[in-house]
Symmetry: C2
Amino acid sequence: MKNILVLGAGRSSSSLIKYLLEEAQNQDWIVTVGDTNLEMAADKVNGYAKGKAIHFDIENIAEKTKAISDAHLVISLLPPKFHPLVADTCISEGIDMLSASYVSPEIEAMHGQAVNKNVLILKECGLDPGIDHMSAMKVIDEIKEKGGKLQAFYSYTGGLLSPESDRNNPWKYKFTWNPRNVVLAGRGIAKYIENGHYKFIPYHKLFQRTQTIEVDGYGSFEGYANRNSLNYRSIYGLEDIPTLLRGTLRREGYCKAWDVFVQLGMTEDTYPLINLSEMNWNEYTRTFLPEYGTSTEEALCEYLGLDPQGEIFKKLEWLGLFSDEKIGANDGGTPADVLLSLLEKKWSLDKDDKDMIVMQHQFEYTQNGEQKRRTSSMVIIGDDSTYTAMAKTVGLPLGIAAKLVLQGKIKLKGVQVPTQKEIYQPILEELEKVGIEFKEMSD
Amino acid sequence: MKNILVLGAGRSSSSLIKYLLEEAQNQDWIVTVGDTNLEMAADKVNGYAKGKAIHFDIENIAEKTKAISDAHLVISLLPPKFHPLVADTCISEGIDMLSASYVSPEIEAMHGQAVNKNVLILKECGLDPGIDHMSAMKVIDEIKEKGGKLQAFYSYTGGLLSPESDRNNPWKYKFTWNPRNVVLAGRGIAKYIENGHYKFIPYHKLFQRTQTIEVDGYGSFEGYANRNSLNYRSIYGLEDIPTLLRGTLRREGYCKAWDVFVQLGMTEDTYPLINLSEMNWNEYTRTFLPEYGTSTEEALCEYLGLDPQGEIFKKLEWLGLFSDEKIGANDGGTPADVLLSLLEKKWSLDKDDKDMIVMQHQFEYTQNGEQKRRTSSMVIIGDDSTYTAMAKTVGLPLGIAAKLVLQGKIKLKGVQVPTQKEIYQPILEELEKVGIEFKEMSD
């Protein structure tokens, strides 16, 4: 009987735990779910004979050592800062560990120890990072094997609303993950390479420099550049590629409207606003505008050159940026805090809303002197508000990896990410069986 | 015989030391100049019987205590971080101290001790802060004394080039103080109040939201908002004023061209560029642009909507932003570092260049039910590259304050800034005699 220990029973664990419990019915497994909230852990395994819930507090060393040494495999969904604490015990106890978060320098430094102890620490095995690595490397390796030379690689991922849920919402967007991160997205500098030239986009230009992406059957999206695409040259073995850009997807029209917040300074998070407790939304908006002696609506259109009848203005109005309703915020909030509180009213998922994950890779390469192009696209729609597309795409790669590791089908040791064929090929094959698949087009 | 100790013999000390040495000929004074560079200190007092140079290292406690206890008054031109060390000894030795830099929280906390020891610590007594406080408070107090109620106060200061030195330079600007601070100017958020509404300008809009300022006989300037105008409500006793904005002056046309650097991201100072050692200026510029498949010049005009025949583009071209000359920078430099190195080639003062300080206050107020407006403007041109307008306007208020303190004409004790009539009135009267005067206009 093999014991799989899942650490963390939060929202993103639903699909992973369900997958493991259902597989356990045909395998010699038990699935132990540990959380500081025992009730939440119990709820996740409820009704499954092979499920077990335990109290688990990462900062309680005895509890940690006991739970991990009782396991044959550990999957950590804890916040990334706790992963070194888990990995450390896994290595000393000789237990393989899987997670969906990025390899930190601290984890990277554990590679030698893990190899010595014959332990696999498989990281970045969720959606992004995770499925992005696997699906990109599959095509990159295929192109290379056929003697192709990659000229350009663009890769976009977005956590969005399904088409059936985005009606009556001009932004066609709601929060499907950490709302605060959405409001602060893109702060800093976006770095990529194009035609052999390094490119740097400052934050205030990021949402203006978007690409349009078409996904067969799902229409148009737009992508803005992620913080650092340059790292991916070494991760994907594409050191000499002239063009490499990774980006985040939104529905068409979103970025131009979001850029209004950026231009106004509403996404600033470094200073507190004044008199917030007395302010209404119209006054909040006016704070970021010069005084034109006109209405706030007219001043905004004048300031940023917006069409008062246009789509951008409509999106802003729909949010309530010009209303005389009190903000209801306490003094001390930043512009971003206040904007977040407005968006949370309008962009929180309703019970019936379904989310949607979209990923598209674009490859441009030369083969036998010919210019070629290939795209590989995935669209996953959530089942409901528990088994969301996000939970499925983050959890199922981990669940499948767990099965493959326990079955001895992944033999690599040390700190790994799923860019190697030995890992990505069997995981992608299994993902296809549970409906997570890519459609390829070439010309 | 009274001994005035001047700490620091750097560039900005020239006018102060000359003023003190010349006054000393008619007063019972000697002037001691202390610097870690004894030669530089000696050079400043050379030829004056009442001048004396000493080695002074603020971090040598014995040297510090000796020099200060030998003095009857200390004027510190040291970097602001050292002022608490000077003030501390001045207070324990019972010696008055003057300086041109801002009151820090550390200095502010010394007020009670200074009062107990009957010591004056007069801060912010240079140009900005200094002359700005004095000249503004003079008018503010006059308006209040006549029963006027201030509605708006705008105050602008700029360190610029004199008209005779700004020909053949389309920017009409050179560095007359710390060049790095000029390149990084405005980072953060500018805060002010207008018509009773708090206003916050993010950095990427700062150089677009300028005011035009006319100075009689000197033409048009433009002002961009300083970081925090709101503080000045309490400093100037204008807690209820609906509009208060302080700003920095540049020659007309400067800000729109500078904004190109801001929009491109060339003033970013938070990340290193890549491949700098191999890059030429054209490639540097291209780094901040999308790839349009055109020349860098065309791409820039397309990207930011610039007229290739226009004044903005001419300014950029004049700097050499499109040249194929190597940058000659080491890897690891930020965009701002590289921009600075370009500007230093073109914006360093020549021997014959003269600088110019421009300050203008604008007051709008009601008096007996009438709307009134007053402006108060000062223009000071440097004599040469030693007795610059900057050195005069920073140094002479300190020199005059020193004379008034030694003559017993300023009796205030504790930590003070020159916003009180007892201080500003005699200083402004003396400044007028040495040619530092304001012209007033009202309507």
